[in-house]
């Protein structure tokens, strides 16, 4: 099936060349970082995780979001998802690939990465994250490939594959739960030390993943003549709406706990995110404009989703609201959540984090790599789809 990636319209090649260029920029930036060290980034002793880990965290969610197609289709036999479930599985593959690349980019000694396997440490949440992420990657490659091959041959997929399909569902939940546990089990980081982090991560994941699938479907409809179908799209919008509402609810609960309890540790990071934190006469408010953008996009998107015309009749507005909710959740989790956990530091000092150009280059390069993989995988999926229609 790989041969499907080798034939395409000029737009396909231009798109791949564009991504390839960004990947080359990312690789060059990474070479610089590899030779100099992580001092090339904006991270510091106080804010010791930056864009790489925050992108990783967000993308684990995107990967887990694929389960919102797998679960209704395979468990509830929701037939309308038949055509796009493969898009969810392939999105998970691309997202996990990005996650692993972001982890590698973040390591101070990347050549020692295998130490995690050579010295397995069951007390470390990173150990479990390694297992579930690689497991989920494997499951999606296996299930996606076997089912697509069967479809191409016009036969039913072999029975044994369903075991792995069902297994991939708890795995999807586990990747984001374990990723939340990286944060929420750390004493002394009040912003993260909250039992609602895992549910909140899952809720935002189940909105962000399907939103990206709708965006992809709308693009594929125009450029590749692939129609996901009205019913599938409507159902996805419903899923996104509920998930985004739940996420908003969870975030507001955090705000309530912080402000009503009035415990400084619980309040400071939220204050830093939304209003800026005053400290020794200086207000630290780097993230404030981003967070309010996220709030506006979030409620704006929810408003658009609630409007039947925008949701069902106007594809531009549907796409727009999906882009808005995706961006809102990306800012919320892909920027704010990780950075604010380090403010203030354990010694009640504030260091703000500003990524460097080199760091942005690597980040963009990895995103481009993810979309490159995604494009190739979707090309295969749609190629098979078209073959069947003929």
């Amino acid at each position: 099936m790989i041969e499907k990636t080798l034939k395409g319209k000029p737009a396909y090649w231009i798109w791949l060349a564009f991504l390839g260029m960004l990947m080359a920029v990312g690789a060059a930036c990474y070479a610089r970082q590899f030779l100099f060290g992580l001092g090339m980034t904006g991270m510091s002793r106080d804010v010791s995780w930056g864009l790489y880990i925050s992108q990783f965290t967000f993308l684990v969610g995107v990967a887990a979001g694929g389960v919102m197609l797998v679960l209704p289709y395979y468990i509830h036999d929701f037939k309308a998802f038949g055509k796009i479930t493969i898009l969810g599985e392939f999105l998970a593959i691309a997202a996990i690939a990005m996650c692993l690349l972001f982890i590698m980019a973040d390591l101070g000694q990347p050549l020692r990465a295998l130490n995690v396997v050579l010295h397995p440490t069951p007390s470390s949440m990173l150990f479990y994250d390694m297992i579930v992420l690689n497991g989920y990657l494997f499951l999606n490659i296996l299930c996606g490939w076997v089912i697509l091959t069967a479809e191409r041959k016009g036969v039913h997929p072999p029975k044994w594959i369903y075991f792995f399909v069902y297994l991939s569902i708890p795995f999807a939940v586990s990747i984001h739960t374990v990723t939340a546990m990286l944060y929420c089990g750390l004493p002394g980081r009040h912003f993260w030390l909250s039992a609602i982090i895992a549910p909140r991560f899952l809720a935002s994941a189940f909105a962000a993943g399907p939103a990206l699938i709708i965006i992809a479907s709308l693009i594929l409809k125009r450029v590749a003549g692939f129609d996901a179908g009205k019913e599938a799209m409507n159902k996805l919008v419903t899923i996104i709406m509920y998930a985004a509402l739940l996420n908003t609810f969870f975030v507001l609960l955090e705000v309530f706990v912080g402000y009503y309890s009035n415990i400084p540790g619980h309040k400071h990071s939220i204050e830093y995110l939304f209003f800026g934190l005053e400290h020794h006469g200086h207000v630290y408010d780097n993230l404030v404009p981003f967070m309010w953008t996220s709030v506006v996009l979030n409620f704006g998107a929810l408003g658009l989703f609630a409007w039947p015309y925008a949701r069902k009749k106007n594809e531009f507005l549907l796409g727009l609201s999906c882009v808005m909710i995706f961006l809102a959740l990306w800012i919320d989790k892909g920027l704010g959540f990780v950075f604010a956990g380090f403010v203030p530091n354990p010694l009640d000092e504030i260091t703000e984090y500003i990524p460097t150009a080199n760091e942005l280059g690597i980040t963009i390069g990895i995103w481009a790599t993810g979309f490159f993989i995604l494009t190739l995988l979707y090309k295969i999926a749609i190629g098979v789809e078209h073959e069947m229609e003929q």
Partner: protein
């Protein structure tokens, strides 16, 4: 008193070495012959067992090294803390960066309000407000950094409770830095070697991309020496170091007599560094 403490430190050092498994230096233990004083098996056996990778059975009352920092002494003589920091920096090849972002620090100074953010600093005694406190790794009895590390590059030395680092195993994921509630850990954001003022050949410098922190001078204890910061304050009682589990130790006598506080003890990490304010 002093000789007794030295003897103890030798034991602590030998046991530390046993953990590292350096057979050449085990000789030290046979001449000490004090290992059985605590009812523990001879240190040489410890070492042999560790060298073969077999688990060492710990006595119910194991050694747990700790430190008491008497801020009253440091308030009287603030230069003591400067000396202690300088001694540590020199002993451990700690690079001196001029920007805050890349800082590497093992023991450093900070005001009371920063060292004890959970305690009230409202109407703090002027003497406390003006004095900088010593900040270093707490060598917790239940260290969150050790729990978080995915490769056991940071680990608790069974024989003496020191939270140690293996710089050659660390992958630089910085999970331990996020996990440490005391901000005790530093990362080598770039090659530290050009920033080491005077190279001490007796202690390895680190490479870029690994985490480091105070090691309670495990390498000095192994030679029967006190930690560098303790030695720098010798004779003043500003920093007392010893076995928290030994009722006869000097540190226990200080703890029995004085009221001390620990940093953020509510987190359940059981810090081994105590402060007399």
């Amino acid at each position: 008193m002093d000789t007794q403490r030295r003897k103890f430190l030798k034991i602590a050092g030998v046991t530390a070495l046993a953990g590292i498994g350096a057979p050449a230096l085990v000789r030290l233990s046979s001449s000490t012959a004090l290992a059985s004083e605590h009812g523990a098996p001879p240190a040489a056996e410890h070492a042999a067992a560790a060298a073969h990778g077999a688990p060492v059975e710990t006595a119910p009352q194991g050694v747990r090294l700790g430190m008491v920092i008497d801020m009253r002494r440091i308030t009287e003589q603030p230069e003591l803390l400067d000396n202690a920091i300088a001694a540590c920096n020199a002993a451990h090849n700690i690079p001196q960066f001029d920007n805050r972002k890349s800082e590497v620090k093992w023991i450093w100074k900070a005001p009371f309000a920063n060292v004890f953010p959970g305690e009230s600093s409202y109407h703090l005694a002027k003497s406390v407000e003006k004095t900088d406190f010593a900040v270093l790794c707490n060598h917790c009895d239940d260290p969150p950094c050790v729990r978080a590390c995915p490769t056991q590059a940071t680990f608790k030395v069974k024989e003496n409770g020191i939270v140690a680092m293996d710089y050659h195993r660390c992958i630089g994921c910085r999970f331990c830095m996020a996990a440490c509630p005391y901000g005790a850990r530093s990362f080598n954001w770039e090659d530290p070697r050009p920033y080491i003022k005077k190279y001490n050949k007796d202690f390895p410098s680190r490479m870029r991309g690994v985490v480091e922190k105070c090691n309670f001078c495990g390498e000095r204890l192994a030679l029967g020496q006190e930690p560098a910061c303790v030695e720098a304050c010798q004779g003043t009682g500003a920093i007392v170091f010893g076995d928290l589990n030994d009722a006869q130790s000097e540190i226990r006598q200080v703890l029995d007599k004085e009221f001390t506080i620990q940093r953020n003890a509510s987190l359940g990490t059981k810090p081994s560094v105590f402060y007399i304010v």
